[in-house]
């Protein structure tokens, strides 16, 4: 679809509308355990929190609001009923309202980035944001796909691994600095666009109690994948999930001759 915004002066307009994605994942400090049947990892009773990169995305949206670059920030989460807690944290950080796309438990384990990006694309059709900020990847699957797929589905420009977002020189676009293998790359993207956050974009604020209490009054809308008309048929099948191999003990050698001898034994040195 075509989305026209006032490109004259971003600061003068009522500001960008931002949609931020948050995913509820197992907390990064938890010692993860593989289920005995090797079909996945244990999640029952395990501490969960907002994906750290999504916290950074939420923080960026709130900062853009504070800088008057953005007018409204909406958080969205695709997940089980407990994802509401994740959205409440986003609201406590300064997001205006939240959308929860609730996934029934039976389909939760088979949910993949392709489904999430389709759901987000559908929501973008009705919400019409100027900017979508997602975490660059979730720490449970490490896929790093949702942002890119979403941009492709919407036919929007994408700026991934952002470490800085600011208005471009002429204020008509966004200037995004990206962290790439060779260093940093700065690009200008026109809005609407999809940006994914990297670690150094910002340091997220704490969701403190007064804000948590205020957030209880902010609107949280619920939607289902059926309402959005998205088919959650899995495209992949997980064969097994296993622990990383146990590191084998090394051996200490007493001298250089010893070392060479051992290397010869293993056929690594002639």
């Amino acid at each position: 679809y075509i989305h026209i915004i006032n490109k004259a002066d971003m600061a003068a307009s009522k500001g960008l509308k931002i949609l931020v994605g948050c995913k509820r994942v197992i907390d990064y400090a938890v010692k993860v355990r593989v289920k005995p049947d090797r079909s996945g990892v244990v999640t029952e009773g395990v501490k969960h929190s907002m994906n750290p990169f999504d916290e950074i995305a939420v923080e960026e949206a709130v900062r853009m609001k504070e800088k008057k670059l953005a007018g409204e920030a909406v958080a969205i989460s695709v997940g089980p009923p407990q994802s509401q807690e994740t959205l409440r944290t986003a609201l406590a950080m300064g997001i205006d309202r939240a959308i929860h796309v609730e996934i029934p438990l039976a389909q939760l384990e088979k949910l993949q980035p392709i489904h999430v990006s389709k759901l987000l694309a559908k929501v973008c059709e009705s919400e019409k944001p100027d900017l979508v900020i997602l975490g660059k990847q979730a720490i449970d699957d490490d896929c790093n796909q949702t942002g890119q797929m979403l941009a492709a589905l919407l036919d929007w420009p994408q700026a991934t691994f952002a470490s800085k977002i600011e208005p471009s020189q002429d204020s008509k676009q966004l200037r995004v600095t990206r962290e790439v293998d060779g260093g940093m790359e700065t690009i200008d993207v026109s809005v609407p666009a999809v940006v994914t956050s990297d670690l150094r974009l910002n340091e997220p604020r704490y969701a403190t109690l007064p804000n948590i209490m205020k957030a209880k009054k902010k609107p949280l809308a619920k939607m289902s994948p059926d309402q959005l008309g998205v088919d959650l048929q899995p495209r992949q099948e997980v064969i097994s999930v296993e622990d990383p191999p146990v590191r084998k003990a090394g051996a200490k050698v007493e001298s250089v001759e010893d070392l060479v001898g051992k290397l010869r034994e293993k056929g690594l040195v002639k």
């Binding site: 010692k31 005995p36 009773g45 501490k47 604020r205 403190t208 109690l209 007064p210």
Partner: protein
Amino acid sequence: MLSSSRAALVAAAAKLPRLVTRYGYCTTAAGERQQQKPLSPKITTHPTRNDRAKDPRWKDIDMTRAVDEADVVIVGGGPAGLSAACRLAQLNAEKGTEMRIVVLEKASSVGAHIMSGACLDPKGLVELFPDWQERGAPLHTPVTGDKFYMLTEKRAIPLPLLPGMPMHNHGNYIVRLGNVVAWLGEQAESLGVEVYPGVAAAEVLYTEDGSAVKGVATNDVGIAKDGSPKDSFERGMEFHCKQLIIAEGTHGHLAKHLINRYDLRAGREPQTYGIGFKELWELSEDRWRPGYVEHGVGWPLDSGTYGGYFIYHLNEGSPLAAVGFVVGLDYSNPYLSPFREFQQFKHHPHVAAALTGGKRIGYGARALNEGGVQSLPKLTFPGGCLVGCTAGMINVPKVKGTHNAMKSGSLAAEAVHEAIGSGEIEPATYEEALRNSWVYKELHSVRNIRPSFHLLNGRLGMFGGMAYTGAVWYFTRGREPWTFSHGGTDHEKLLPAKDCKPKDYPKPDNVLSFDLLSSVALTSTNHDHDQPPHLTLYDDSVPGQVNLSVYDGPEQRFCPAGVYEYVELDDGSKRLQINAQNCIHCKTCDIKDPTQNINWVTPQGGEGPAYNGM
């Protein structure tokens, strides 16, 4: 009952330029309270020990706090705190009164800091919720079998468990207490209580004239490790309330502060403690006996060290068992490592038989109170009261305290409700109600069992205790007219290293026994690294001067999470390094530090261990 070595040490400490008193305040030999000279590099950067009003880095920071009002604030969302909350809500419904009840819990979710065996006596729960079964309380494992053993190095000698003995468990349930507490939290919320996990109560607030408690303040966030404000700095908020209920569990930090301030231990004995370890094991199916409860004493602890073990086989669908070990913190040898005693214990043939083929999936530790009635402080103060383990209500021979904690919470709720109705500042009827309840009767009856361990100056140790239980207690059930004393605080009982022999512990085999750091990893504990360590020292120079030189740094051994390390500096001297991130909030260091120099305060809310149904 001070040993002569301890007396000599006190005399020697008097010669030091700084005398660290029992409560840890720093005084000069002349008795003046003195601000410590900054030690470089500084260990303690926490604002509780560094006045921000005098710190130039805080000059332009707005320190005002948001204020909210509630009728009752409860610090701690454990069995005692949540029982108090639920009972208050029930009373309001019964009597048509309205109250705002707020529970503040420092763990990220209700139940995440709960660490217990646990073999639950359902008495307390039944009184609070007679319909607990319909409500879905997770009590899935009734006790089906009960055994008690005395372990020697090679053998396990079964001892008779007669009905009426405190260790007899018929009618009780093996539970994962963290899950029961999470359920209690849901009940509280459904009754209209506001429960806020992830929020730590950091400071007690007083009325203008300082006489009464008026509320609490939650923790500040966004302070850097060096004590300076970060961009994300935000002040905590204040809750002003009519009554404050402290339910922090054993040796709570606000409880410690209030007990000192209102001298609640006057005329009573100090509290004594143990450290409890627990691991969750997935057993090999053929060794799993759902509902089976086993307790025992003996190897590897020597007869002079109090302690024991438990193994509880759960019945919740998978072959899980809770394996635990308690070491009394009145031990005297600074070379003793409670953690390593526990790891060694699992190698006993009798225990190894149960665990072989199994996999350890959880680990945790927590201090527990052992003082019983002798050590109960005065329970009320102007503006509030203490409930549960924070006051100290564990029935030590029975190894159970949850039922007492829940009952005390309910009784406190009734007293608090009454006090608010009548405008009384102190909920004074609570203490009397507790003394007239089954909690007190039970604790009074077993009051002499734990201290009987010290009979004949401790020479008989565990044998003395067991002999007393069998020969005297079984017949008198506590009606004997005498009450044994605990003989002083746990930290006073530690002997200087030169008077003790180092202990040789076997290396962990990574099948039955494990090293400390991989155990700590299983607690999933975490703290924001860029914050002042919450293990604060009254005096940064004492660890090197006293703890290390006199006691060989016992904190390296009694901390179950590897927080304390003495690292060697370039000039060959050793310096205490505090790895605050590892802390699992057990409070053992605050209890056992021989110089009482360590003061545990709460870190930011939401931090600490993430136990899963422990």
